[in-house]
Each structure stands twice: as structure tokens, then as C-alpha cells.
Symmetry: C2
Subunit: 347 residues, 2 copies
DNA sequence: GTGAAAGCGCTAACAG
DNA sequence: CTGTTAGCGCTTTCAC
């Protein structure tokens, strides 16, 4: 039912025999219009099926009440949870959120940033796919408020809401050590990302604090994906001396790891202990249940929006705020090995 | 670093000593500009940090190259997967997608639709939270192409891409029957939704085809959520005669159901068989592995965008296309009961 | 209370 | 090849 062309404020004005200025007043509830006139206008709006054109409006007002959210992987359940937190707060303050997914592609990310800037979003919350990229330049130039979420953005002074990844990994590794493990492997994420690097650092720190020498063979790399965790676990399985415990750096990797364990018949909880970064749905369905490092997703999102909002409202420039939220170690069952003996070759 | 105010095409023109028309030609790669002039303009653009204002542009062009995607639950993994399919196709055709989440709230949905219309999206793909609502009126009036995805929209002639829910549920139930089950319970979703109703219909049809009388006690209701599945399962567990098999209508409900089974120590695969609608991550981590009805998420999304795109491009009005994709039954381990005896009181 | 008119930044004829 | 100009639909003074 393609109508001729959408009715404009002009049409409404004509229909109600008033000027467009008066119609505008009514549309925006500015008052100062005689009740009778208003009624006529409201009637005309209904009759014509008029809808205010937000594009034209933004053009005058120089604000869009839209904020962009850019995430790297919509299929990683972590992000939808964070997004919910942002949305919730944004809605309260009358902002509309546009969510975009880069699928970890710096190119796509760059395109999206450009589109958002062109469309004049009032601010953006981003978990970047490329910490060192130049794609943020334009945001900075245009003076658009940005909050970096979960992944640091180097060389730009944006606000940030991050997780203390070092601490999280440290706690997990420490827990494993206290359970008597010495041969602890880590499935690392890409070192090109803050979380990848930091979680490795936390692992290292725990080993060092408890004077356990680092065994290079127990450090395997992968992308933050199921496949990454799967193949890393296979690698680990082929070692002459297999680790007695595995720390996985990311939720998707954990899934891949557990799948591999099953496929390889490398018995979780009997032959190998496990702690993963991020809580996952399957954690309580495996046997034994998985111990994990859990992040406050909702809080992360809420805080991010709050910071963004403050900056949108602010007139002056002020220095960046950097928040570091603490993850929580959720000990379930997978981190100790019952009565099965550990290798302890080195002790 | 809030700049004075963003540079416009005017500023660029002045800076390069040309007219705005020429700048516009360069910006839009329309050619017909002397190389030397172009270079000067490009230089000016760089120098000033100019970015084309898409708001103003859309205002002239009457197209935004944006399509809106509205989903009811971003935390249900089904939707991100569908969204990926849409995004992928949209990107190929030069469209940018704005994703919005209604959290199953008709009110929020209505607001979002209004915002999208005001912003002049070229089309919208929607999985509605309210099949019978009036919120679509505005889309129809404005002649904005709409594709209903996964949930039918009644009383409006939009294109639709749905799943054959009846068939999916039928297959699942039939499978259970063929395994020898007679006491088959169904955990239903809300009857206010197409999937809720249709899946129940498929269940009914299978029972009827195999001449198994319907037992009202085996039909329990719940919302499409983990909680819904959990409490429904508890209800089932309290029956004097418990079912020997459960068909769960939705992925989240399946998770809740399995959790309840664990908590109640109602042994999956021994005391009760299970098939769920939608494949879920945990399906292969439970013991036994869960049999499920699986939907082609990606195909669903791709097709939806394709239909939308055709309509955006079309000038004439043509009648709605309705697609019904078939789900696939993935038989794993949870639908037979090994050598445990079935009730068979009625046989 | 209401209206006239000046743009917001851009595109697209239409002239040169 | 390049410039002039007329809007797109709306908000917002400034008059009446």
C-alpha cells in the first residue's frame, strides 16, 4: 500500500488551516497553542497518518538520541548479556540503541564506525576487534563520546570499562595450584587482544608466585572460538606428559575444549581438571560441573552507558575514566581431581 | 576534543576554492571532475576532517540504506544466529542493519517501530512480540516493506519466513511414539504466539495419528524461558503417573527442563526420554545427548533479507510471499529409554 | 496564540 | 568540467 508520498508537516498544516510552526509546536508538546487549534491539528495528523520525520528533525537539532553499540561477536553469549545492560539504561534515559556486529573483522568495524558517525550518533560503546587500529580517529576528530568496553583501546583517551583479566586468570590458576596441580596448561586467546594477553599474564603470575616453572608446552594458542579451544586441547592431548589441569581463556574456547575432551576420551575430573574464563550455559550440565571465572556482564553494560551518557551531556572536556571490574571465581566441581593421582614429576 | 562544529561541504568548498556541487561530485564518486581539482578537494577533506553528513543526505535522497531488525530476545541464541544470516546478506547489498531487542515487550516493540519509521528505515525484519498488535499499522501506512520472521503477523499482508512448527513438533512426537512411548508430555510455549500454538498442534496431530489419547495432565504451559521449562517440569514430576517422555517447545525451555530433571533426580534417558525444539549448545554435553528439532537459522535470516530487498527495490505492489522452511529432526540419544520399562498402563 | 521566514547540509537539475 | 540554485522536512527566532 505504497502511499503517494509521506505526508509532511506542510500537509498537516494545510489540512488544519494553520501554519507549520503551530503544527511543530503541537508535535513537540511545547504548549502555547489554543486547545481548539490543537484539537484540529491532532485530528489532521491522525487523518493523514502523519509521522514526524526524525531525519529532518536531527538535521536541525544536531542530536539524534541514538547511540551505537559495536560488538565483535553476536553469537558469543557474553555480548548479548552486556548489550542488555546497556539497552536497559539507555532506554531509561530516552536513548535508542543501534547494535552492530563486526564478526571480529577490523574492516567491518571501520565501516560501521563511519556509518555511525555519518548518521550522527550521540555516542558509541565499542568492544573493538582491533585495539591498535586507526578507525577511531574519526570518532575522536568529530568529538563523539566513546566508551571502550571489555577491550582497551590504545592511543586514544576514551573512557573504558574493563574486566580485571589478570586477576581473574590469577585466581583460577591459583585455585588449580592449591588443589595440588603442577602441570597446568593454558589455552590462550590471541595476544593481539587485551583479554588474550592479560589472562596469560595472570596465569604466569600465579605460577611464578607459587614457584612453579613455566612449561612452554602447556601454553597453547587459539582464536577466541570453539574451534580454537578444540584444537588447542588436541595439541595438549598429544603431549608425552599431559597436563593435569587446563585453564581456558574464553567461553567459546571452553566449549571447544570440553568437546575435545569428550571426543578424545580424556576424562574431565578424573584425568584432567578444568577452569574456564566466563560462565557458560553448559557449565552446570557437564559432569563434573565446570568451575569458572565469571564476569558481571550486566554491570559492565550499565556502567558503560552511564559513562557515555555523562560525556554526552557534558560540555567541557574531562579526562578519561577507567574502570576495572573484578570477576568472580565460581568454584563448582571441575577443578579438583578426586582421588586420582597427579603427575608430580617435578615435586 | 569537541571541535568547534563539524565541517560541512561548504567549508570544504571554500577551502578548495570550488563550489559545493563539485565537492559533492567528488564525495559521491560521480566522476566528471578534473583530476587536479579532485586532488585539491580530497586534500581539503583530509585537512578539515570532513565527514559527509548522512542525515542531510538521507533527507534529500529519501532512502537511508538502513534496515531495522527487531527481535524479541537477544539472549536467546536462536536470534543472534538468524541475525547473522540477515546481516551477511544485507552487507553484500550495501545495507546497514540496526538491531533492536524488545525483550518480548509489546510496548517496547511499538516504540522501536515508531523510531525506525521516524528514522526512515528502508525496511524491517521483525519477529514480533505481539502478533495481534496494532503497532504494524504505521509500517503499512508508510508503505515500509516488512518481513515477518519466525512469527506470523496476522491481519497484515507482510511477507513471511516461517518454520513449519507443526511438522517439527509432529516429527518429534512421532519419534517418541515410535520408540514405544505412550505417556508423552509437552511443555508448551505461550498460545499467544504462532510457534506456541503450532508446536502444540503438531504434538496433538501425532498423538491422534497414532491413536494415543490426549492426557490433559501431560500438557503444561510456560513462557518461552528457562524458568518456564523449569517449573513445567516440576509440575510434570508431581503427577501420580509421570510421563515417560517429554517434548519441550523451545530451546530455553529445554534448558530449564534439563536443569529441573537434574535437580529432581528424575533420570534423563532412564526414567524419562526427551526431545526439544531447537538445537542448543548443551545438547551434546548432557548424558545422554539430547535429540532435537533443529531449525535452519542462517537460511531463515538470509531468505528474510532477500525478500525484503526485493520489496525495497520493487516499485509496484505485489502480493505477499510466505515461506515455510522445514526443520530437521536430529536424533541423538535422549529419545529412547534403553531397557527401562515404560508405563504402558493404557496399552 | 499564531505565522513568516531563515536555514540545517546535502543532492540534483540546469546553466554556462 | 564547474557553478548556481532550488528544495528535502523540520525547528526556531522574530514579528504581528
Amino acid at each position: 500500500m505504497r502511499t503517494e508520498s509521506k505526508p509532511t508537516i506542510q500537509d498537516v498544516a494545510k489540512h488544519a488551516s494553520v501554519s507549520i510552526a503551530t503544527v511543530s509546536r503541537v508535535i513537540n508538546n511545547q504548549g502555547g497553542v489554543r486547545a481548539e487549534t490543537e484539537k484540529r491539528i491532532v485530528h489532521a495528523i491522525k487523518e493523514l497518518g502523519y509521522v514526524r520525520n526524525a531525519v529532518a528533525r536531527s538535521m536541525k537539532k544536531k542530536e539524534t538520541k541514538m547511540i551505537g553499540i559495536i560488538i565483535p561477536d553476536i553469537n558469543n553469549p557474553f555480548f548479548p548479556l552486556v548489550v542488555s545492560g546497556i539497552e536497559q539504561q539507555a532506554r531509561k534515559k530516552g536513548y535508542y540503541t543501534m547494535l552492530s556486529n563486526t564478526s571480529e573483522s577490523p574492516i567491518v568495524e571501520s565501516e560501521i564506525i563511519n556509518i555511525l558517525v555519518e548518521r550522527g550518533v550521540d555516542g558509541v560503546v565499542i568492544t573493538t576487534a582491533d585495539e591498535y587500529g586507526k578507525q577511531f580517529q574519526i570518532l575522536q576528530e568529530q568529538g563523539i563520546p566513546v566508551v571502550a568496553l571489555d577491550r582497551r583501546i590504545n592511543e586514544y583517551n576514551f573512557d573504558s570499562v574493563l574486566i580485571d583479566n589478570i586477576d581473574g586468570a590469577y585466581q583460577a590458576t591459583k585455585q588449580l595450584i592449591l588443589q595440588g596441580h603442577q602441570d597446568i596448561a593454558i589455552i590462550c586467546g590471541p595476544h593481539s587482544t587485551t583479554p588474550g594477553r592479560d589472562r596469560f599474564a595472570g596465569y604466569l603470575k600465579a605460577l611464578s608466585d607459587y614457584e612453579i616453572p613455566l612449561n612452554d608446552q602447556f601454553v597453547v594458542q587459539g582464536s577466541f572460538s570453539e574451534e580454537g579451544g578444540y584444537s588447542a586441547t588436541r595439541t595438549l592431548n598429544e603431549l608425552e606428559v599431559r597436563p593435569t589441569a587446563i585453564f581456558s581463556s574464553n567461553n567459546l574456547m571452553s566449549i571447544g575444549c570440553i568437546k575435545a575432551l569428550q571426543d578424545l576420551e580424556w576424562r574431565l575430573g578424573e584425568e584432567v581438571a578444568f577452569i574456564g574464563f566466563d560462565d557458560i550455559e553448559i557449565a552446570t550440565f557437564t559432569k563434573p560441573k565446570l568451575s569458572v571465572v565469571s564476569r558481571p556482564m550486566n554491570a559492565l553494560g550499565e556502567l558503560a552507558f552511564q559513562l557515555l551518557h555523562e560525556r554526552i551531556l557534558a560540555n567541557e572536556v574531562f579526562s578519561p575514566r577507567n574502570y576495572l571490574l573484578s570477576p568472580e571465581l565460581k568454584i563448582r566441581e571441575s577443578c579438583h581431581l578426586g582421588n586420582i593421582r597427579l603427575n608430580h614429576k617435578r615435586s
